[in-house]
C-alpha cells in the first residue's frame, strides 16, 4: 500500500511542477535551473537520516560522502542563485553596486 501512496504523491507533484515552471519567464531560466538544482539537493535529508549511531563502518563512509556532495549542491546552489537574482534590476532601480 505504501508504494501506491508514494506514487500518488509523486504524480501530483509532477503535475504541480509542470504548472509552476511553465509560468517562469525565459529571462529567469538560468536562476530557475540553479535554484531547482539546489532543491534537488534534498537528498541531503535522506543522507543525514542514514547516518545512525548503530551502523558504523562502510555505510557511514557512504553516508558522509552523500552528505558532503548534497551539501555542496544545496548551499552552493542557493548561494549562486541568490547572487544571480541580486543582479536582476528594473530600469528605475538605479545602478546599484
Amino acid at each position: 500500500m505504501e508504494a501506491v501512496y508514494l506514487t500518488f504523491v509523486f504524480v501530483l507533484a509532477i503535475f504541480l511542477g509542470f504548472e509552476l515552471i511553465s509560468k517562469v519567464p525565459s529571462t529567469l531560466h538560468t536562476p530557475l535551473m540553479s535554484g531547482s538544482n539546489a532543491i534537488s539537493g534534498i537528498t541531503l535529508i535522506g543522507a543525514l537520516a542514514s547516518l545512525k549511531m548503530e551502523n558504523p563502518g562502510f555505510a557511514t563512509v557512504l553516508g558522509t560522502l552523500a552528505v558532503i556532495f548534497a551539501t555542496i549542491n544545496v548551499v552552493g546552489g542557493y548561494a549562486v542563485t541568490n547572487r544571480m537574482l541580486e543582479m536582476f534590476k528594473k530600469k528605475d532601480q538605479g545602478e546599484g553596486k
Binding site: L6, F10, I14, L16, G17, F18, L20, I21, S26, T27, L28, T30, L32, M33, S34, G35, S36, N37, I39, S40, I42, T43, L44, I45, G46, A47, L48, A49, S50, K52, M53, P56, F58, A59, L62, G63, L65, A66, I68, F69, A70, T71, I72, N73, V74, V75, G76, G77, Y78, A79, V80, N82, R83, M84, M87, F88, K89, K90, E95, G96
Partner: protein, 461 residues
Amino acid sequence: MGALGINFSYVISAGLFIFGLKMLSSPATARKGNLLSALGMLIAIVATLLATGLDYRWILLGIVIGTAIGLFAAYKVEMTSMPEMVALFNGFGGISSLLLAWSEYHQQGEISSFLAGVTFLSAFIGGVTFTGSMVAFGKLSGKVPQKAVVFSGQHLINGAILLSALIAAALFCVFPGSWLGYVFFIIIVLVALGFGVTSTIPIGGADMPVVISLLNSYSGLAACAAGFVISNNILIVAGALVGASGIILTNIMCKAMNRSLANVLFSGFGTKTASSGAEDGPQGEVRPATAEDVYYILEAADSVAIVPGYGLAVAQAQHVVRELGDLLEANDTEVMYAIHPVAGRMPGHMNVLLAEANVPYDQLVEMDDINPRMDSVDVCVVIGANDVVNPAAAEDENSPIYGMPIIETFRAKTVIVLKRSLNPGFAGIQNALFFRENTRMYFGDAKVAIQALIAEFKEAK
C-alpha cells in the same frame, strides 16, 4: 522530535519550495522566492537533525566540508562560467542520490522487489547524472574538446550498455539479499557511471543547453527515486518539482532549435555538416565596415536591437555592450536586447550576463516579442551570434536548420554583424545574412570592437 513532528516540518518545507518556485515567475519577486525555498530547505534539515540516534560527528564533518566548498564555488564563479557551474552542482546532486541508495541497501540487505527496483533507479539515474554532468562540465569549461565525439557503432554500444544495465537490474530485483545481489548492484553502479560518459560525449558544445536541462531533470528524478527508497515524501515532492522543471526546459530548448530530443542526443549534430556545408552555402560579397562607419550608422538610428550570442560570453563583452547601450540611450536611441532562447550555453545564459552588466531586465526582449516589430527596427547589432540569426532557417528548405525559429534580424533596416571572421557557426552552415544588401560586417573581437565604437562615440562629443 518525534516522527510526526518531523513529517509536519516536511510539509512546511514542501510548501515553501512550491511558493519559492511560484515567485520565480517574475524578476521582481524571484530573489525572495529563492530565499523562501532556502528557508524550506533549512527547516527540513533542522527537523531531520532532531531525530534520535543520529551520529552527529560525521554529519557535522560532512556539512562543514560541503558548505565550505559550496560557498567558495558560488562566490568565486564568473557569470560567464555559470553553465559549467550548474553542470557541476547537478552532478553532485546525482552522486549523492547514488551514495544514499547504496548506503541504504548496504544497511538493509534483504529488501523487497519494489525497494530493489527503486534502489536500482536511484543508483542508476544518480550515476548517469554524475558522470554525464562531469563530461558536460568538461566540455563547457574547455577541458574536454567541445566537438561531438561520434564513432561508428556508438548507438549499438550505448544500446548494449543500457540492456546490460536492465538485465543486471532485473537480476538484482530477484535476489537483492544474497552476495550475488550485491555484485549486481556494483555492476549497476559501474554501468551507470559508464553510460553517463558514453551518452554525453556525442553531444556538441552548442547543444549543451539541452543536455544541462536534461541532466537537471535527471538529478531531480534521482532524488525522487531516493525518496521512494527511504519512503520519504519530501524527497519525492522536491525531486518531482525539479524533474518537471528540467523536462520543461529541455522541451523549450528543443523547440527553439526545431529538433527532437532524440535528434539532439543521438545525431552528433555539427560533425557531418561541418565538412560539406561551408562550400555549397550561400556565397557573395560581404560589405565590411570600420568602427567609424558603424558609429555613423548607430548615431543616426532611432531604435537599435542588440542580439547577443555565445561569442559575447567568450569575449566577456557584456560590460562594454552595456556601456555602448548607455551611450546610445544618451543619444535618444531606443535600445533593446533581443535574446534567442538557445543563445549561449544554457537556458537564460545571456539574460544573466546582461543582468550582471546592470542592463535592466525590462530591456531584454524575447524572440517572439521582437520579431513582429522587426521591420521598424533601424539597426540590429549581432554580437557573437550566428545560427540563431541565419535567414536560411526561414527561407532555405534544404538547410539543415530550416524551420528553426530565429531572430529575424534580416528584416531590420540595417544589420551590423560583429564577428571575428567569416567562419560558419556551430551548425557548420554559412550564414546567408552576411551577404545581404542591408548587412555590414564589422570584424574583430567583440570586446575590442565595441570598445573602439565607444571611443568613437566619446570622441564625437
